[in-house]
Structure formats: structure tokens, C-alpha cells
Symmetry: C2
Subunit: 469 residues, 2 copies
């Protein structure tokens, strides 16, 4: 047993984690429950859309060669109901948007380019109705004046112009969002086959760590922030979550939580605390004995003691019943996050979230990295690259406001303040982790810096909210 | 009754909608259910963090004036358990990260700057242990050599340095995300008071519109994409949702759906279809009779017939029981979205989503508008501004790849293809609506164009996914 792990860079740690992700298999679920899930089977259209030549406008289906003139309205075609008029030169059919163009008609003239001719006044060729009388226009045995000649196919969507029968409308590997739910409904896919959700168990460790409900705190106690936070993050990522509680700093307690994770069928176990160099940091020793540690230190600030291991199951869970030989060997990924809440926050996003996404079937599970401008000067750390929590804001240059050379807007990274790893307020409202390079000296205001997106950029900031420190 | 509504610009429509949003009131819920909700009462810390002077390192609490030398280890302070040693010059206390610094000690020396002196060898001043023997270092009655003098306060977090008792840690109006869940736990807030969720009812209209499960389609039928899609969008936005089904194109059917919305306690009713100029477009006439239409046409492509109304309740729901005079007058917002699925998609994001956010307590409910570069030339529409669906990609210039003058990356807007409003595939994978100005001619590739974010930018695109058309 050894506590001396070589310190590896973050990209290497991320790659090791992704290399240990396996496939969870697929399941078929109702489409309305599928938002956020990833298709494991492509979806193919069983029919064309539109399934019939459809009018793009409210107006009249015409025979285009007829041209301008006054015609008998011999029928009507509405969305959902259609007469079956016999097409004949010199006739038109009233038609509504989306309705089938009757056989034999080859163009639509929008109602704005027509005038209805009241039947009793046809002979007089006067007293035409205004466009506000559209409501009256649908009746049969009326006549209408076509004011503009139509070209063949005008304002008609041909069969299959939106979706062609047999077309793949959604591909295996696509994440299902709002529009995709609509597309599934369009092609009649009431159920979809998607990758299974990973089951994530979350536990905290530490004799000093107590339930959030504890008040007042006893001597030396602090409330457990990590477990609620990581449970929320894993659930938001789309995982099933199980709360495994707080383990005291004894091997027995920690092993007990591990065992409960195994019985619950957890795929990914996330612990926090117990991975540092203290003599009661028992998570690493336990992982060394019961599984394989793939890395135990990472060159990052915060988060240096981040540990990643895999445990083989069910051999790790004796006494759970069943015949182990009859089951395929499965394994559990274990992320040993550091105990400081900001460390566990940053480590989760940098390593655990991509793993959860890969398990859920994402073909590109890494978080997006972009470049942004620094809204204030930051000191770099010569020993470790720092993942500085920032709120990205789209704005004019905040420190040269009003100067003529800065009229455009940019993404600016605004620091959330004091970055000590115990201060979770530094993660409040953060939507990105700025990658501050390992170096001496300062990154100057205005410098272009790489940032990893960890939250939605859709929302506008609270106007009373974060501003430059 | 009139169907002639003046065409208003989108920003005016958005303002009218927001002006009609009211407050839904507050409720107190368990914090672990609060992700995505907005605080209506600020959260104040009941105690300081750390609640005691806490060590930042594993090492030894010392009296800084003692300086370099060999000292008796007179006790230990671990996270969660502490001896109460009497401080005396010439003594030190073993301490772990996060543990309380015992009274009388004023600095911490990290274990890396110490050497333990095995008790049996103290006299010899040799055979010191290496840093891999940390595990042994916690025992009492040992001696340790301090190799670096400490300055007062070194590696100690003072009481309240992360959070001060009485400090507002989260403000009323803040959206609760992952980090905020951790902050709530830290300060012992197991429950939070948040704005209530709006209750959204969603219905479709149209004789041609059938359930997604319908297969094969009958003559003239199309499947209902809008209802599933808008239900998913409203749920994703954090609303409670009720599916009100499909109404046939009769006033009775549509009124029946409206009545069910009222009985269900819906705050926001979203319809699709029935707002155009056809003679069976019955939603507008019904809203005219039973409520107030605030606008009925908007200068946008797609989405021109977008209609917004408010209905006063309970007078609009006779026969629902109860004594109306005893209840405060409430009202229901109605968004009459156009029937074409892309139109309803765009109108939802541009007008309904900001309304839902405002009802949920967001202080800045508008979607974020940024500027991006156009990855391909687009034709503008001289009659209406167009909300062109695009996938924003962070990449090098896609059309000048490799040329020396374009080495940096930018946000590029990649069109989702044919934008006809019936083609919902144009919303697939879209994460922004590009604001293409109303004008003649073309917007050239590379032009900076305004875009409204409608989805998360965190995810990286599928490598096999969208590419330049």
C-alpha cells in the first residue's frame, strides 16, 4: 500500500476516466419521458410529411393554366376535411393552410390575391367583398375572382418535402431536447430506445461532517454541503441518484457505505473527503485494498487529491446473495472527490460529469471549452493550473466602457471573488471554470483565456447581481 | 369582432407579455427539490464558517514565536475530534485539514515542512521518517522537528472567513443551481421559500391534427407535434404542466378545453393552431368574446399570427362551483401559437418562455442575446425579420480553415437548413435563433449577427453531427 501517487495533468485524468466508461445498455421508454436522454437507435419516418400535397396559404386551389378571371368555387378543402370535387377548367376550390390540394389542381392563390364575388351580384361584376370578409369565403356555389395568375406548384408543399418516408429524422447518439420531442411526435414515435441512465450513489466522509439540519453546530462540526450539491449535480446531468449518507472516519463505516452502494446497484460512486494525506483519510487505502486506483493526485487547483478507482463486482460485495458465477462481472466507478466543497464542485464538472455523459451515450461527453476575455487581472499559481470560478457575461468592455475603441460586445469572465477551496460562495452563479495556466505572475485584464462551460448561458444575469470585484 | 390586428414588432410583443405577468406568490419547499426555482426570501447564515479557527493543511499547530526546532506533540486536533491540550511554549499539536486550531496556538506548519522524530531516537537526532510516514504522525508522546518557522496566522482560516454569521449568502431573486444547493446545506437551510411554479396547460387545435400514436394516417391527417413539444419546453422551463388534448375546429370543443384549463387551475394556457385567417380559425374569435386580446399579429417569420390574450377568472368559468365573490379575481394568460410546428417553437421561446420565467420570479427573464458570425450566406426577407434556427459552434473559421489570418476561434452560426415553418427538422439541434433583419438582399458569410440563445451551449456537438450545409 502506498499513498504516493504521481501527480497527473487534468487532461490525462479526464482521458483515464473516459477510458474506463462502459456501456450501460438500452431501454425503451415513452417519448414524453425522454428529454435529456440519448437515442441508442435511430428514428426513421414511417410516412412522408406532408403526407399529401398541402396548401401553404389560405386561399383557392386553382388550375394554374386558367389564369386571371372569375371562377366557380366547386368545393372546399380544409385541414381535416375535404370534398372530392371533380377538377375542371374554370373551377377553383376554397382551401385552408395545411389542407390537401385536391387532385387535378396544381397551384394555390392566396386569399389576399382574390376577391369573392357575391352570387347575387355576379352578373353586375361589382360590390365585391373586402378581405375582411374571408370568413364568408368558404361556402360552395360561390364565385371568386382570381386577381393574380399562379405558376404551377405555387404555394403547395409537395409530399415528403418536410420529411420523406424512410428518412432518418434523429440519429443514434443524439440528445433528445425540446424540438426532438416534437419531431418524435411528428413521425409517430411514441416510444424511443435510449441508453440507460447511470445510477449514481453519493456519500460524504468525515467525523466533523454533520447533516445540514444540525443547528447549532457542536464543537468542531461543519455541515455537509457536498452530498446535497453532488446529488443535485448528478440528477441535473440525468443520472438516477441514491443518497448514501455520511460515513464516519472508520474503515468499517466507509466500507458499509460502499456495500450499500453495491446493493443498490450503483454504477458510479462519488465520495467526498478522506483522500488527503491525513492519517484518517481512509478512502484511498480502502480503494487500494478493494479495487484499482487509476490516479490519486491531479495537478489542479482546487482538487489535487482527486482519486479515481474502479471496483470489480459482485466479488466486492460478499453476502449479497445470488450466484456470482451466473452474473456477468460488473464494476463500479468510484470518484474520490476532495472534502473541500469547491474542490468537489470543480472535480465533479471536470471529470465526473463527462463520465456520466459518456455512460448516458453522449458521443462527445466533454464540456465545451471556449475563449473569453478577462474582466480583471488575476494572479497565476506557479505550482498548479487553477480552475477559477467565473460568471461569463456578454457585455461591452467593462473596464473601458464608453471609450470609442470598444464599441462591440464580448464574453467577459467576471471572477466570483476569493477562490479558497473552502469558500463555496465562489461557485455561486458561476457558469464557467476559467483555465488559469500554471505560471508566475499575472494574467492581465482583457487577456483571452480558455474557459470550460459548466452551466447554461441562456439566462441573463440578475441586474443587481455579480459585478466586477 | 374583427380579425384585423395591427402587426407589432417582436420587442413590443415581448414587452406587452411581460407587462401582463403577475406574481404567483411563494411557498416553502425542501431545499433538495429547489433546483431551478427562484428564491423569494434571501437566505442568511445562522453561524460563521468556519465556526472555529480551522487548519488549511495537515500538519502541526504551533506557537509561531517558537520557530524552528524539535517539539513535543502534546495532542491532536482532527476534524470532528479534538484533545484540549494546554498550550505551552515548546509544544505542538498534530492537526488535520479543516480541524480546529486549539486555543493558544497561532499558526500551522504543513507536514511537508516537518519531520517526525521517532521517540526512541530523539536523543540521536537521526533516523528521521520520510513524508510517506504521515500515517504514523498522529500519535501522542511523540516529538517532531519543525523545519520552517511559521508566521502568525499561517495556514489558518479565521472564524467567518468563508461565511460570516448574519451574512446574506443567497439573495431573493436568485435562481437556485447546483452550487446554491451546496450553499443552502452549508448554512443549514433545509427548506427555502421560493416563488411558486406557474401551471401551464397545453392544447392543440385542428380537425386534421391527430394523436402521435395514429398510424397509418387517415386522409388529410397529420400528427400533433406541437403539444408534446410545448409540454416538454414548459416542463423544462420549470412549470407544472397539464395536457389538455386536441380540440376539434368547433367553438364548443375549443371552449371545452378552455374550461378544463380553468378547472385545472392553469395560469398560462398555450394553444396552437386556429389563429390564422381561415374561416375555421376559431381561437381568436373565442378569445375576443371571452377575454382581451393584447396583440393578434406580430412582425416575425415564422409566427406572424401569434396571439396573446388574458381571460378574467372565475367569471369566465360559469358552473365551476364555489362562490366567485369570495375569491380574488384571477386571470389566465393565453398564448395562441400558430399551428405550424416551427412557428409555435419560435413563438414559445420568444414570448412564452420569458413570461414563464417572470412568473417564476426571475428578475431578468429575457433570453440572452449575443453576437455570432454567420457560417454561410443567408437571404433576408424584405417583409419580416426572420428567426433563423442555427446551431452555434465554437470553432475556427469554417470557410477559411487553414488560412493564416484566421487562427482564432469564434462562435459560428450554422444554419439548420430549409426554414419553412412546417419543417420541424429545422429546430433539430438548434441552440439559438438568429435575428435576420428585415431587408432585401443577403447577409454574407462572416457577418456578425445577433442571436438569441434558446438552449444550453455546454454540450459539444456530435462529431458526426451538424456541419455546414
Amino acid at each position: 500500500m502506498s499513498n504516493v501517487y504521481s501527480m497527473i495533468p487534468v487532461p490525462q485524468a479526464q482521458q483515464i476516466v473516459l477510458d474506463h466508461c462502459w456501456t450501460l445498455g438500452s431501454e425503451t421508454i415513452p417519448s414524453h419521458e425522454a428529454v435529456g436522454r440519448v437515442l441508442s437507435v435511430s428514428v426513421v419516418a414511417p410516412d412522408s410529411l406532408p403526407p399529401f400535397p398541402a396548401s401553404i396559404k389560405d386561399g383557392y386551389a386553382v388550375i394554374s393554366s386558367d389564369g386571371i378571371g372569375t371562377y366557380n368555387v366547386v368545393g372546399e378543402s380544409r385541414a381535416g376535411s375535404m370534398d372530392s370535387p371533380n377538377p375542371a377548367q374554370g373551377t377553383v376550390v376554397y382551401i385552408t393552410t395545411g389542407a390537401p390540394v385536391p387532385l387535378g389542381f396544381d397551384a394555390v392563390v392566396q386569399v389576399e390575391d382574390t376577391e369573392e364575388v357575391p352570387s347575387e351580384k355576379v352578373e353586375e361584376e361589382e360590390g365585391t367583398m373586402t378581405s375582411s370578409d374571408y370568413k364568408q369565403a368558404g361556402r360552395k356555389n360561390r364565385r371568386v375572382r382570381i386577381l393574380k395568375a399562379a405558376s404551377p406548384g405555387q404555394d403547395i408543399r409537395v409530399v415528403g418535402s418536410d420529411i420523406l418516408v424512410g428518412e432518418t429524422v434523429l440519429r443514434s447518439g443524439e440528445v433528445i431536447g425540446v424540438a426532438e420531442i416534437g419531431i418524435l411526435a411528428t413521425v409517430g414515435a411514441t416510444h424511443v430506445t435510449v441508453y440507460k441512465q447511470p445510477h449514481v450513489g453519493v456519500m460524504s466522509t468525515g467525523d466533523e461532517v454533520v447533516e445540514p439540519s444540525t443547528s447549532p453546530l457542536g464543537p468542531g462540526q461543519i455541515r455537509d454541503a457536498n452530498r446535497s450539491m453532488i446529488l443535485a449535480a448528478a440528477a441535473k446531468a440525468g443520472a438516477k441518484v441514491t443518497d448514501l449518507g455520511i460515513a464516519r472516519d472508520t474503515e468499517g463505516h466507509i466500507q458499509g457505505c460502499f456495500d450499500r452502494a453495491v446493493s443498490a446497484g450503483v454504477d458510479v460512486l462519488i465520495t467526498s473527503g478522506g483522500v488527503s494525506m491525513g492519517d484518517r483519510d481512509l478512502v484511498k487505502p480502502l480503494l487500494e485494498r478493494t479495487g484499482t486506483i487509476h490516479f490519486g493526485r491531479v495537478l489542479m487547483k482546487p482538487g489535487k487529491p482527486l482519486t479515481f478507482a474502479t471496483l470489480s463486482l459482485p466479488s466486492a460485495a460478499p453476502g449479497e446473495g445470488g450466484d456470482p458465477s451466473s452474473e456477468p462481472q460488473r464494476s463500479m466507478m468510484v470518484f474520490g472527490l476532495p472534502g473541500n466543497p469547491v474542490s468537489s464542485f470543480a472535480c465533479f464538472y471536470l471529470t465526473t460529469l463527462p463520465a456520466l455523459r459518456k455512460l448516458m451515450g453522449w458521443s462527445n461527453p466533454m464540456l465545451r471549452r471556449v475563449q473569453v476575455k478577462l474582466a480583471q487581472t488575476l494572479k497565476m499559481d506557479p505550482e498548479r493550473p487553477e480552475y477559477h470560478r467565473v460568471a461569463l457575461q456578454w457585455s461591452k468592455c467593462p473596464f473601458l466602457e464608453g471609450r470609442a475603441e470598444h464599441v462591440g460586445c464580448d464574453w467577459w469572465a467576471v471572477s466570483t471573488g476569493n477562490q479558497i477551496s473552502s469558500r463555496l460562495l465562489s461557485a455561486r452563479s458561476a457558469n464557467a471554470l476559467l483555465e488559469v495556466p500554471q505560471a508566475s505572475g499575472f494574467l492581465r485584464q482583457g487577456t483571452l483565456v480558455s474557459a470550460i462551460l459548466i452551466d447554461d448561458l441562456q439566462a441573463m444575469p440578475d441586474p443587481d447581481g455579480l459585478s466586477l470585484q
